[in-house]
Symmetry: C2
Subunit: 353 residues, 2 copies
């Protein structure tokens, strides 16, 4: 069995609080029942996924998956392709937004080179899992071979498996790759038979003319490559990217390990969506962080049946939304494990409901 | 001049980034312009209020203002009145949700007895500023005298002024008081001439019958007391509460000290709204944390022109929403002070916008 097959096989179906035991446990806390809203739901999800009522979330890891995209040459991004590698260096120098937000919530950032153009010197926070030097231009042919698509997924699986030995209580996804909203929009359009127009947004901030061009590029990519909507690996190979495959692999590996997965924004959701198409049971392990400004994101979220935790008008990626959400999940578990009960606090219960 | 008058006089009008200098400063960061959304706006607010481009937010203080309400005897709450004092003890034992969330974001909680029924033993985290032993039943007459209304505001001012000597970089508001959604709904109905029906919700979780009774109680309170809508102190005296006055005072004192104020949910917003009616300039110093489930909250927010940062279906009060929001404001200032610029990070700027 390949690493990919074995990982997928390991994923067990779970239900969120199937017998209401976690909710019952929570209703003993000295608060009006349900008054902590989604923080209660988060704790219920976390406990359901891990099976642990007493977990202190300590090891928080954000994987920022990086890859280049030759479709950048079609003028679909506001930034030049060189920015992918430049930002990887910025991550390693801890100067990027994801570094600061991860540090704020006590998470470590692992950057994975899944297939960027340049070679980056080895560094403690970097894993080199290059599947290629940039996914090919999807407007002209497939992004990668089917073999490389599996390799990109395995890059994510390996990253998780290596890092889990240092402890992982929660995983956050992240991405870096100039032009990668283009394959992400193409993925959802392909998998769900949607008009690219409905799921294509401005990415890093392109103007109307560039947006129209981007939509045309995605249409062309779908026409030329004819990805098979019922085969998520074919879709990844034809119109995806290395870092998107790695995010899918990360989700599969984390689910197999019963580790809650906090999914960042648009590109991360494309990866998570592929993982869920490969193995629907992955869905239950996923916590959606924020609603991105990027147009297609809410379509992904709806298809996955996920309601994001917050909407701060963000559209940066990197894992920035995941970082903030990890802080919320940790807070929810602190409440769950530390709040005093009515009995312990000597607080009277409701008498008029 | 009284402490109240002096505090109000000290509040200077501010504008949020009037000349765009803070935005310009931010646009040098190695991210697509505006891609951190409301985190950028938060930093811009914080810098505008404090005038400091280099602030590390260290001293975070949540003031949980407690007071009792004899209107509880009308059956407007799901919980017995004794819970107010019981919860104050729970706060001091650090077993409540606000303690855990404040600790999570590195904030300290100061509990202020603004007028609860019982006497609580002195304790390091407690300030005793009792204006009375519970506001009177507003369905039968005024909650308090005008003199006591000013005293309750001064309880908040004094609390801030005492605590500022230990350092305060940001203030969070919080409340505890069984039945206090009733005066809060009455306050907004009175100040804005609204039908109590539109601004009255289920508080700690009352049923339909109790809700109808609560609405009738508020109607009666407004009929009997005839609060003067153009006199916020009269409204506070007639249909308010001691902790609500103290929250108003806290907002006035913080604004006078150019300290950003993070306002919690429904009851806190009632206090902040009174402060803003007393001195409209206070509005610019206020950051709204979350959208509460409590029905009238969005009405308050709209009147104040504030968009909450998040909506997690919370309705607990105590300062729990403020705690989470303080974490976001701190994160925004870490981004503002620590993110690498395009130049420093060696990242290429946009070339296709």
């Amino acid at each position: 069995m390949t690493l990919f097959e074995e990982t997928v096989k390991n994923i067990k179906p779970i239900e969120i609080d199937p017998d209401g035991k976690i909710r019952d446990y929570m209703n003993k806390f000295a608060i009006p029942a349900g008054s902590l809203g989604r923080l209660e739901e988060l704790a219920i999800s976390y406990v359901s996924i891990t099976g642990d009522f007493n977990k202190a979330i300590k090891n928080k890891v954000i994987f920022t998956m990086a890859g280049d995209h030759d479709v950048a040459e079609e003028g679909v991004s506001a930034f030049p392709q060189s920015v992918t590698g430049e930002m990887v260096k910025n991550f390693l120098n801890k100067g990027a937004a994801v570094n600061i937000l991860a540090d704020h919530v006590g998470a470590r950032v692992i950057v994975v080179d899944c297939g960027i153009k340049p070679d980056i010197n080895s560094s403690p926070g970097l894993k080199i899992k290059k599947v290629g030097r940039g996914a090919k231009n999807i407007a002209k042919g497939p992004a990668m071979s089917r073999e490389d698509a599996i390799k990109s997924i395995e890059a994510g699986i390996e990253s998780f498996n290596e890092e889990v030995t240092n402890g992982i209580d929660i995983v956050g996804t992240g991405d870096m790759g100039i032009a990668n909203t283009t394959p992400s929009s193409a993925i959802i359009a392909a998998l769900d038979g949607l008009d690219p127009e409905v799921v294509t947004g401005r990415g890093t901030g392109i103007n109307d003319k560039a947006l129209q061009n981007k939509i045309n590029v995605i249409k062309k990519a779908l026409e030329i490559n004819k990805p098979n909507p019922s085969d998520p690996i074919d879709v990844l190979a034809k119109v995806g990217g290395f870092e998107i495959g790695a995010i899918a692999g990360l989700c599969l590996a984390a689910a197999g390990n019963r580790t809650p997965i906090v999914v960042d924004g648009f590109i991360s959701t494309a990866g998570a969506y592929i993982a869920r198409k490969i193995k629907p049971e992955v869905g239950a392990y996923i916590i959606s962080s924020h609603k991105s400004v990027e147009k297609g994101h809410s379509v992904f979220l709806e298809k996955m049946g996920k309601k994001p935790l917050f909407d701060l008008n963000m559209r940066l990626g990197e894992g920035t939304g995941a970082a903030i959400a990890i802080g919320l999940v940790e807070a929810s578990m602190k409440l769950f494990t530390q709040m005093a009960s009515f009995a312990k606090a000597g607080v009277s219960e409701a008498d008029n409901v």
